[in-house]
């Protein structure tokens, strides 16, 4: 806690505030551009963080993350197109309000709800992370190895086809073991020297996550209709923000739900907002959800922002990223020389607590900047894709070069981009693959430690933590398969 309070002192220095304003603005603008997301912003800025101190990098990327979460709500409300899947249900009540000429009020409601959800998520993150992290102190090689397996299965369980998802994750683990092993053996490089240190993180993250996103955007013929947005003004936005505070019980309950869902790897903001919206709908049966009511927007936006706190606690405690954005955050930390896995929080407690302090401040920065941005939302949304695509593509290319100054990394990024796009088309989820790349090296060294510490691999199952993690992993594979099988049987 002392680190957390001290963090405010550090964070309020000019440089960090500047990074927060820059990061939140970037996240908001990218989130507000149809087809682009805040996670793309993190991908684009990833190469820059290599030159930064770990805290600066974390503050900057977390700011983009915070801004991006709300940015997506702007397009959902104004043009009925969610900026990301997390804002899908925001559309249901947000767009009908826009059609009634209440776009400003709807944006204000979303902003106020996002702010409240974000703050509640931060409170949870600050209070619970240390307690959760203390459990990870008891982790030995068996537990560490099982965390990787748990991460892959948990992330995979929510995919359309869990088997494909686990296949992608295992492929990621294979890629993650390329390069010099802890035994000193050089594997899978086929004589390519740039692969000696393993698959480089920036080309992998940009290639698999950002490039397919931008190519998909380029291939879509998206048109933007902003004919109903004449009523966006600061006054209407502020009125909307104030209105959120008239629903304190809903705000708190949906935020708690968001935090809980956020803790589950891969569930994240989209599942949180859908569950919260449905819960609000069931709890308030007298209200007509989907017709443009404040409760609909509040239910969706508090939960998806609160889930940020839960997702970050899983990232910092277990070292498991649950979404594209958190995967890129972890990638940035790996670039800083941090080792992913359950010791992440324990090893870098001071920096992480200071980053938590910045998250609180970011919510206020977001409130201020988003209120201004919303007033100009229609101008940002209208930027044509044909001008955005070349800019973003060239940025990703030069960004992947700037880490090690190798054209090889650019080529690798393009190759991963092609693979990422093909995987998207073939319904292979990317997240498990990224997780595999990030944790593959760790899994390899932990397995080696297991064989050095135990006579047999199966001795690790003497630990209750390993048993629990293994049981959850098996359940997360079997449960979706059984439900899929039952569904098919019922259909037939």
């Amino acid at each position: 806690m002392e680190y957390f309070l001290l963090g405010f002192k550090t964070i309020f220095s000019g440089m960090y505030l500047l990074y927060m304003f820059a990061g939140v603005s970037l996240g908001l603008i990218l989130g507000a551009l149809p087809g682009l997301t805040g996670s793309l912003g993190i991908a684009l800025m990833l190469p820059f963080t290599y030159h930064m101190e770990p805290l600066t990098a974390l503050v900057f990327l977390l700011s983009i993350y915070t801004g991006g979460l709300f940015g997506g709500a702007i397009t959902a409300i104004v043009i009925n197109t969610p900026g990301s899947s997390a804002n899908l249900v925001t559309m249901l009540d947000g767009y009908p309000m826009t059609r009634r000429g209440e776009a400003g009020r709807a944006l204000g409601l979303a902003l106020g709800a996002s702010f409240c959800g974000g703050v509640i998520g931060c409170v949870f993150l600050t209070l619970a992370t240390e307690t959760m992290a203390n459990v990870s102190l008891k982790f030995g090689p068996g537990e560490m190895f099982m965390v990787v397996f748990f991460g892959l299965t948990a992330v995979g369980s929510l995919a359309k086809n869990p088997l494909k998802s686990i296949f992608a994750g295992l492929f990621g683990v294979m890629l993650g073991t390329i390069g010099m092993a802890s035994t000193g053996t050089i594997r899978g490089t086929y004589g390519m020297v740039p692969l000696m240190d393993g698959v480089p993180m920036i080309p992998a993250l940009i290639g698999f996550l950002a490039l397919p996103e931008i190519i998909t955007l380029a291939s879509s013929n998206q048109t933007v209709d902003v004919s109903n947005t004449s009523n966006i003004g600061i006054k209407a936005i502020v009125r909307g923000i104030k209105e959120v505070f008239l629903h304190p019980i809903q705000v708190v309950l949906t935020s708690i739900l968001g935090v809980v869902v956020g803790i589950i790897p891969a569930a994240g903001a989209s599942v949180a907002s859908v569950l919260s919206y449905n819960l609000s709908k069931q709890a308030m049966k007298d209200k007509e959800f989907g017709t443009g009511i404040p409760e609909g927007i509040i239910g969706a936006e508090t939960a998806n922002n609160a889930s940020e706190g839960g997702a970050l606690s899983t990232l910092f405690v277990l070292g498991i990223p649950g979404s594209n954005s958190t995967a890129m955050l972890l990638g940035a930390l790996v670039l800083q020389g941090w080792s992913p896995g359950p010791k992440l929080f324990i090893d870098h407690k001071d920096v992480i607590y200071q980053a938590f302090s910045s998250l609180f401040v970011q919510q206020f920065v977001m409130l201020l900047l988003a209120a201004i941005l919303c007033a100009f939302a229609t101008y940002i949304i209208k930027v044509p894709n044909k001008y955005l695509v070349p800019f973003v593509i060239m940025f990703t290319l030069v960004g992947s070069f700037s880490n090690r100054y190798l054209t090889f990394d650019m080529g690798l990024m393009v190759l991963f981009g092609i693979l990422g796009l093909l995987m998207r088309k073939a319904d292979f989820p990317i997240m498990p693959l990224i997780l595999g790349i990030l944790l593959g090296g760790n899994a390899d060294s932990e397995l080696l430690r297991i064989h050095q510490s135990y006579d047999s691999f199966f001795e690790i199952f003497q630990s209750p933590i390993v048993i629990v993690l293994a049981a959850i992993s098996v359940f997360s594979i079997v449960a979706p398969l059984v439900s899929h099988w039952r569904k098919e049987k019922a259909e037939n």
Binding site: F48, T177, T183, R187, T216, P390, Y405, L447
Partner: protein, 163 residues
Amino acid sequence: MIKAYLKKMVLSTVVMAWSTMYYIECLGYSLKSRRLIQMVYFMMLGLYIINGITDYIETKKEWSKKADSKDSAKSEKTSSDILAMLKENKAVLLFATLILYVLGLDFLGFIITTFICCVIILLVMGERRIPMLIGMPIGLVVILFLIFKVGLNVPLPTGILGV
């Protein structure tokens, strides 16, 4: 039907082929160095076979459904296929441009390749106005040069221009 099935399986087969090559390479190393790879490889192989079987069953079902409504589907398919082809071509063209960019960067240098690549991307995106086709790439080259070369001291490839 076989064609549709093979199309579904192509990606996982390529991945599996690479994994097999990697596994065979690792067989030459000590057990300590290949334990995880061996474990993961056999899990992947199992999943590949299961996926292959389920994909086959799914394709067979889809195919029999299609056969039921052959005529109506045929007219729909023609228009959607053309759209899909156009969209896919855009992606193919963009990726081809990126590959050429990477191949030409060391020889032509950052400034020339970035300019050409940006012009091609704009053309692929449907921009036909000459001022935009010249102005925007110049602007982009300047921005990237200032950020990366001047701001971050990244040694961008100089190529034939020497800058």
